[in-house]
Amino acid sequence: MGAFIDARTVPSGTTVHADVAIVGGGPAGITLALALANSKLKVVLLESGGMTFDAKTQSLYQGSKIGAPYVTLEASRLRYLGGSSNHWGGWCRPLDAVDFEERDWMPYSGWPITKADLDRHFVKAHEMCEAGTLYYDAAAKITGGIGKPLALGPGGITTRWFQFSKMRSSVLPTHFGERYAGDLKKVSRLSVYLWANVTRLGLNPSGTYVRQLDVATLDGRKFNVKAKACVLAAGAIEVARLLLASNDIVKAGTGNAHDMVGRFFADHPVPRDNAVLVLFGGEPAPFYLGNQTTHGAILRAGLFPSEKFRRDHEVMASSITVEGKVELDALGKAAVATTANALGVDAANASYHSLGCGMEVTPDPDRRLTLTDERDALGMRKLKLHMRIASQDFDKYRLTLKELGRQLIESRIGMVKLNLRTRDEWYASLDWGNHHMGTTRMSADPKNGVVDANLRVHNVVNLYVAGSSVFPTYGAANPTVNLLALVLRLAEHLKEELP
């Protein structure tokens, strides 16, 4: 039987030995621990929190922010077993092949792996999210009984699908901690330490090997963990903090010889009510408006720019969602009546819906996390986020919406109104996906990133990162199922690498 150990009971000065030490018990850490269960590896999982929310532990996530409006660093994450899956939305969708490609019009694009390298891991990743069979773009075949996708004419926008983590009454959707605690306990060579905060990566003098992880509890205990491989799975903000703060050997921070750690922070802006969708013939199919359960999957349709449109028009990914009904003003009524009449279409039953979306942002080295001189209750330096969004990101998304409008008119089924234009208007409507990404980006060349294609920190032989911090570009897909696919690939790698 595996053990759940309260780190506050571990005597100070203890050294715990393991083959693999995982820092963080969110979806990434839990999935990695379970994926290593069928190996001979002795695994230790170090989780900062307990089984439920604790305010003192949560306050370790405090930091500051400047720049574009953004969620506070403390509010957008949860620091206990299960991590931010304790308040995630359960939306799932794999990235597209184009998201991995180097695109000359998209600065800093190009992953050192392709989508094909990940494909075989999505079934298991999906299973971990309890999101049922993978249908995604084949979903139209199984949703015929519910409704028809919009008959959009040829063009850049197509109906594509999200799937959702299983909804149930007590765990809604999959909260990885609560859901998998029982499974973790069944793994014989795994020890899960709760209330165990990793505060420092202790490197050898040449900075090429992690000799030990320093662990501290909020009640003052200090011990360390020595492992053949250490995997940072503490979320994209905290992984950067751990690397930057572990700077006693390499002054710029561990893995930061090229000043890349903490740079390229990203999230998906979610501008609310950014457009109005008019459908002359009436309501869209129910799967556009909310989740529908069929064939053992929970599905929702969105409107996405195709990979071809993205390449041809040099636009980033986005996922347009159809939201609640809206009323039109006098100009809107005039525009709909005039356009429908001119197109020879009856708009007596027209429907009007607000559009939402998740947008990809351009990778930006100056959208970054840095350490401040303020310290948390464990003495660790806090982070400051400098948030920025390029105006062209909004412009490109607007171009995508315009393409939707074009197709609706060409197919004589509807039209679109764009609600936002100026930067202030976009900012005023801005919400966020809370999808932290990019701070330890993957790269073939150590000069351009922090981890290699196997998620190993460049030049630190036994240090890995698991999570969306390794995404060099972000797509518009929700990150969790994708980061889990990467984690499952890492598990395979670790099993091969470690004797």
Binding site: G153, A330, L331, G332, A334, A335, A337, T338, T339, N341, A342, L343, G344, L401, K402, G405, R406, Q407, I409, E410, R412, M415, V416, K417, L418, N419, R421
Partner: protein, 121 residues
């Protein structure tokens, strides 16, 4: 029984004529008059000229150097006597769009609306 004199009959008849004019013909008389323009043929393609003018005001805010006569000439040759709906779907197919107050419109329709706005003064 009170009889109606010839004089009264004439008066009532005249009143009836006034009523008819006020009820039916009056609608014509009260109808908003627009000064004729050299592009009335294009404006006539949209069903509600006032609505078109309202949209057109917002289109004019987006379009630079809007010269009505020249626009009308090019719109006529673009429409080429075809039904307006055909010209509009062709606009969309060719990516010819214009915005008015955020509404994404086929360019031909947006520009006709702009002409209606110009005509409304």
């Amino acid at each position: 029984m009170k009889t109606v004199s010839r004089r009264q009959t004439i008066w009532l008849g005249g009143a009836a004529a006034v009523l008819v004019a006020g009820g039916v013909g009056g609608r014509m008389l009260l109808r908003k008059r627009y000064a004729p323009t050299p592009y009335d043929d294009l404006i006539a393609l949209v069903h509600d000229r006032d609505a078109a003018a309202q949209i057109g005001e917002t289109v004019l805010a987006e379009v630079e150097d809007f010269e009505p006569i020249a626009r009308a000439v090019s719109l006529r040759s673009r429409i080429a006597g075809r039904p307006l709906a055909v010209a509009l779907t062709e606009d969309a197919a060719k990516g010819r769009l214009v915005e008015g107050g955020g509404w994404v419109l086929p360019e031909t329709l947006g520009l006709i609306c702009a002409l209606a706005a110009k005509a409304a003064g």
